[in-house]
Symmetry: C2
Subunit: 179 residues, 2 copies
Amino acid sequence: MARRSQTEMAVLGALSMQPMTAYALREAIRDVLGNFWSESFGQIYPTLQALERQGHVERREGPRAGSSTFAITAPGTARLHDLLNEPITTTPSRNGLLLRLFFGRTLGPARCRELILQARADAERSLADYEELARTVAAEDAGSPDLPYIMTTISAGRHNAQSLIAWTDEALTLLDGAS
Amino acid sequence: MARRSQTEMAVLGALSMQPMTAYALREAIRDVLGNFWSESFGQIYPTLQALERQGHVERREGPRAGSSTFAITAPGTARLHDLLNEPITTTPSRNGLLLRLFFGRTLGPARCRELILQARADAERSLADYEELARTVAAEDAGSPDLPYIMTTISAGRHNAQSLIAWTDEALTLLDGAS
DNA sequence: ACGAGCATGTAAGACGTTACATGATTAG
DNA sequence: CTAATCATGTAACGTCTTACATGCTCGT
């Protein structure tokens, strides 16, 4: 699946929950999907225009002069359904931390430990964030049919953060034998 | 840090372990760093040429007529050191599975479960691979000064696969309340 | 009146992948 | 001798980010 389709999927998905302006869409993608998805500003507008041309979204009068609210149409919902059912395309991973650790002999053990401790601190903060997010969302969206689905994505973040923390501990132990 | 610098880091890092041809470099990046890094073919050659111009790598006679072996130079080692010490730039994550699950109400619970089970199977295979890799590398590179560093990256893969498996179980439970 | 935040868009350029084109060497 | 693999490179194309340019609206 081309990257463009993935952007369409995110945009249509967001609009399927609520009609909004392009600006709000950008913020929703950043703030709501941000933990596992991203779209840059320069992608959202052209995609929205393409979707409008294809009749997948509808432009309505916005909250201000010169602004528009976009709403998903029936064909747009069908298109979203199709996109969601397409096979998942995985983007090749690029983990700067692991790349540095792999060349740790050149980088030096002290700096490696620093990087790992930094990662641990980040993961701990992230874990706390996910736990608070889980509480907030469970309370705010109680009873929403979207809730269980949203919770699976938050759960993924929590598990990932936890595994990162566990890994840093093991990594530090592994490096003890190295210095 | 520009993406180009990251490519340089991977290339110089690989050459710091062993001089090799561009072709071997490509395979090494795919097969050895592949679990956490990737460079496409079209990036490696231009980067290598740039590094040669800058005197960071040296072109020597290769194993065949018309082929070259590249070796890192002293300035190249210094450059690698600098690159490794630059702050880590994280590429924004794009997780197609989580994006689909977030819009799971539209996708439908049955298909969501399928996707999660697929992810579980992948993670289990991946976990087995990492465990075998850990055994192989520990045996083959026993005593190498690089071993502990390499093991931290394998450990990261293992922890990640484990957390993915644990997450899928929780996600399935969460969705039981949804259908 | 003015600054912060809402709102829309374009354009340049960097980044990255893929397909193509070509040839040498070696194993069977 | 011929197919597979080693080996080198280019060109076209698509993707993505960043910076820029513009204007409205609301609170103070």
